[in-house]
Amino acid sequence: MHIAIIGNGISGVTAARWIRKLSDHKITIISSETEHFYSRTALMYIYMGHMRYEDTKPYEDWFWSKNRIDLLHAHVNGVDFKSKHLDLDNGSKLNYDKLIIATGSKSNKFGWPGQDLDGVSGLYSFQDLENMELYSEGLKRAVVVGGGLIGLEMAEMFHSRDIPVSMIVRETNYWDNIMPIEEAQMIGDHIIEHGIDLRLESNLQEIIDDGHGKVSGIIVKETGDQIECGYVGLTAGVSPNVSFLKETDLNIERGIVVNEYLESNLMDVYAIGDCSQHSNPAPGRRPIEAVWYTGRIMGETVAHTICDKKTKYIPGIWFNSAKFLDIEYQVYGDIPRELPNGISSLFWKHADNKKSIRINFDTSTKVVIGFNLMGVRYRHEICDKWLAEGIHIEEMLPQLALANFDPEFYDCYEKEVVALYNEQNGTSISLNSKRGLNDVFSFLKNKIRA
């Protein structure tokens, strides 16, 4: 059986690796982006000079032939689902028995005037990075439109090369469409501390043409301010990269619609990763989740299904992480931007305005439902287990130190978190465990509830 995978990102590559682990099927991965799989999350580090492109490849180049995974550096122009073949840009056709579509995302453009000028680009692909590099020489100022993770990454990239950056952000605080206000403000303060020109509650009016088809500046809608710049980064989110399949029988809404087995409406066609849209997402999960680990889990899941071990996609309890310039961020469970009725939040913040710990819990049942951490690392497995068990916050707090994952010798703030809870709730809980690997193991292994 020949399995073709379109896209060599984390989803497609994970699928290929697991199919190889589970079977002897012939596997071909087709991509026009790069010859080999690289980690796109590290694009920024190439630009910043922390790493080279070579260093972003998670596997050495011999890995693919050793594992009999064929790599095809070509662009898929279209798919003939009836005769089961791909039309490639080199004019050839590639037949398949089963097809996995893992084409990822593309940057959103909302019809802004000038959005297709030279020097205007998102940051998603390797080509986007090359484009950024191309315009960086002698660049006097860059503008980043959009206040998400990629927007801040892009700002950090320019900033690392001493190129002044302005960030045009629609929201009142950076990323406050996702983050609770306290954390959003903390990040905003940090962005400004770094000397990045953060313009909140601002929208892009238009991108100005220099008369030669290249960007020369932008106009901010709210103020009418004109910002001269030689580069505009469009980072107002991403959407599934599926336009080349629009005119086919494949069921596409925003992304390729798949069921819980990652099957599309067509026989032998699967979609995974950023480009897939789940018709029936698990509770608390969104239909499209463009994050690294969901792509990885989908790849692993679809491989099982294809190799006759039909497996449901179960992403588990939500988690994620990021780094905002120098502030690390981790989230486990449900942390809405605004507290709904019936949910309480225990929020502790360090005086340096760079660390905070937030624990959300149900006001009446006191069941813990989420952790939001800034500048502090928590242990995934511990948080996941507490959340899965629906632990009572007053049962959890005494052992909160188990979750701490900061390096050795770091100050631990769990005591302060517990004290804060006591103060707010008139309780007298005391922290009774220290962080330590043996305790973690005994907790993880001995207290498994169904």
């Binding site: 984390i10 682990k21 980690s39 999350t41 590290a42 580090y45 910043m48 000079g49 922390h50 790493m51 080279r52 070579e54 260093d55 972003t56 490849k57 998670p58 050495e60 180049d61 011999w62 050793k66 690392s160 090369r161 770094h194 690294w292 680990y293 990885r296 889990i297 692993e300 899941t301 099982h304 497996t311 179960i314 588990g316 988690f319 992480s321 990021a322 780094k323 310039l325 120098d326 690390e328 981790q330 690392r377 928590y378 242990r379 995934h380 497995e381 996941d384 994952f405 900061d406 390096p407 050795e408 010798f409 770091y410 100050d411 330590g436 690997l437 043996n438 973690v440 193991f441 005994s442």
Partner: protein, 598 residues
């Protein structure tokens, strides 16, 4: 700030130019009363020849001219002694070896007399030169480093791969440096061993066997060109720095007669500490400590947000300055043996040499304590501490080589080769060196107790000399430090150090230490692998949620520091010592049988 830093760089380079240039400032003049040779037969002939060749009261402008003149005298004296011996003129009762003057004697006499003949501005005003070199370099370094303490805390790796000093070499350049160095060491080794070809040949064969084992043994695809070793661009500044370091080490180890300007300069400091003039080893110890302290400050500035790094760096700064430098010098002042209490056999490869054993056993209670302490460290200290904390307790907290690598070497940590092929070389070479060290030491001990230095067809003195030359000097120094800007800052620790191999075996098979990965948070970005100085592909483990147990890990903690997602933590735990790294922690397809596949 930037201006201050630029001034700092300027001062540092001025100091470096003076430091290099001062080697040409000494004059050399041999004086009749300065010929100091204990062997009366040698002394008589040499003094007579010296007059004949009229080397007295001639001023030689360079150490090379002086050396050449004195060697003429020695060669001629050697010839005369040979002839005398043949003709039976040698006095009764004097052994052949005491009378004839072998090549080894020539080297020793020549070096000591050229060094004694040195004279010039440096001897007259050593402190001025010290201030112009060490002083200016330290000042420049501090001006460059102190501003780094201001500004926002966080990982500062911007533009490392844009900079000509730290971006590394292409695979071809690296291969060129490696083969040239290997060849150079072997060729020089032939003359070092007095044209005894046995050991250079054994080494060359061992080198070829290891290469064959790595490249041809498994005829598989893993041996295609290594990944991380081939950047597109080459750091020319790094190459210059590497060549400078290499030349420095060659002079330091093997040609002390050419660096009298440096030793003269630091002699007053040595006098003040130990009461003796400075040898090249004092110079080296002083430079080493100064560099570890100044570059340690840089490390503290860079990682001031990270308490693990602060403690660790302070620790290596302390152990280098106190244990490796000051305490041994003070011991000498107190008429005790020079001893570094934290140096451990087999890194301290001459610990069991007869002269060291004799010195320790003849130095009273303290000497015996040193002997027992050294043996206990090797036999009990290493396994015990490594069981509790991993090999990091030594390699990145205490060791001098590690201390230099973690301070002066930090800007080059990203240049380590992460390919599987490099790992294969590593395992053959480092365990080969450990084996060599053990065999060499056993032979030396056998000779010590039996008084017989011939074992089968091997001579334990030659084995010892070759080990000192090849491993102790060429590998640990010339390659170990000279290759910082070429192949990363832990070349010696990773490929060569026999103690690291020993610690690593304990760490791999019986230790509570591991690097834990944090569930499913890894995004495969590769910062951890890139900044692993030991060339461990940390990401390989992290992305599959596997804890990292590798014998080479020195526990520097930088992978954990540079991880943008909080994935890695250095930890000790006793409950799973024998099953560390068995579980995959990635939270994903949660079917029992699938989770543990791989």
């Amino acid at each position: 700030m930037k201006t201050l830093q630029h001034i700092g760089i300027g001062l540092f380079f001025t100091a470096l130019v003076i430091f290099t240039g001062m080697l040409g400032l000494n004059n050399y003049e041999f004086k009749a009363d300065a010929i100091s040779i204990e062997n009366v037969h040698h002394a008589d002939v040499i003094k007579q020849k010296a007059l004949e060749y009229e080397i007295y009261n001639t001023t030689y402008k360079s150490s090379f001219a002086a050396e050449s003149a004195f060697k003429n005298v020695l060669n001629s004296a050697q010839k005369t002694l040979e002839e005398n011996f043949k003709n039976g003129i040698a006095p009764e009762g004097v052994s052949e070896w005491d009378y004839r003057m072998g090549n080894g004697w020539i080297k020793g006499y020549s070096n000591s007399h050229v060094i004694a003949a040195a004279n010039g501005p440096i001897k007259k005003s050593p402190m001025q030169f010290f201030l112009l070199t060490f002083g200016l370099a330290i000042l420049g370094g501090l001006l460059f480093i102190i501003p780094k303490f201001s500004g926002i805390e966080g990982i500062k790796n911007n533009s490392i791969y844009h900079h000509a000093l730290t971006r590394g070499l292409t695979f071809r350049w690296k291969a060129l440096f490696l083969s040239a160095t290997t060849l150079g060491v072997l060729l020089y080794g032939i003359s070092y061993m007095g044209y005894n070809l046995l050991w250079p040949i054994i080494t060359a064969v061992a080198t070829l066997v290891i290469m064959a084992l790595v490249i041809y043994k498994h005829e598989d695809k893993e041996n295609r060109p290594a990944r991380s070793s081939s950047p597109d661009i080459t750091g020319w500044l790094g190459m210059i720095a590497g060549v400078y370091f290499i030349i420095f080490y060659i002079l330091l180890y093997w040609m002390p007669q050419h660096i009298t300007a440096w030793t003269d300069m630091v002699s007053p400091i040595s006098q003040a500490l130990s009461g003796n003039g400075a040898s090249q080893w004092f110079l080296y110890g002083l430079m080493y400590s100064v560099i570890v302290i100044v570059m340690g400050l840089r490390m503290l500035a860079k990682y001031r947000h990270n308490k693990y790094q602060i403690w660790r760096t302070s620790s290596v700064m302390f152990f280098q300055t106190a244990f490796a430098f000051l305490i041994p010098e003070i011991l000498v002042r107190l008429n005790q043996p020079w001893y570094d209490f934290k140096n451990i056999w087999p890194l301290d490869y001459d610990f069991f040499f007869n002269y060291n054993l004799n010195e320790l056993t003849q130095s009273g209670g303290l000497g015996i304590f040193m002997l027992v302490w050294g043996i206990l460290l090797t036999l009990i200290g290493v396994p015990l501490f490594t069981y509790f904390f991993g090999k990091r307790w030594y390699c990145s907290w205490v060791c001098g080589c590690g201390g230099l690598a973690e301070t002066m070497g930090d800007p080059y940590r990203q240049l380590s080769d992460k390919s599987l092929r490099a790992w294969k070389y590593e395992r053959y070479i480092i365990h080969g060196v450990l084996l060599f060290a053990v065999i060499m030491t056993l032979m030396v001990l056998y000779s010590y107790f039996s008084g017989n230095s011939q074992i089968l067809f091997l001579n334990s003195d030659n084995v010892r000399t070759w080990y000192g030359f090849l491993i102790g000097s060429a590998f640990a120094g010339v390659v170990g430090t000279g290759f910082y800007p070429l192949m990363g800052n832990r070349v010696w620790c990773r490929f060569g150090c026999p103690l690291a191999a020993y610690l690593g075996l304990v760490q791999k098979f019986k230790s509570r230490f591991r690097i834990t990965t944090n569930g499913g948070q890894c995004i495969s970005c590769g910062n951890c692998s890139t900044y692993c100085e030991m060339g461990i592909d940390v990401r390989w483990y992290a992305q599959r949620g596997q804890d990292i147990v590798r014998s080479s890990c020195v526990g520097c903690g930088i992978c954990s520091a540079v991880c943008p997602r909080g994935v890695l933590r250095l930890e000790n735990g006793s409950v799973d010592v024998d099953s560390r790294a068995m579980e995959l922690r990635t939270i994903h397809v949660a079917e029992g049988d699938v989770r543990l596949l791989d």
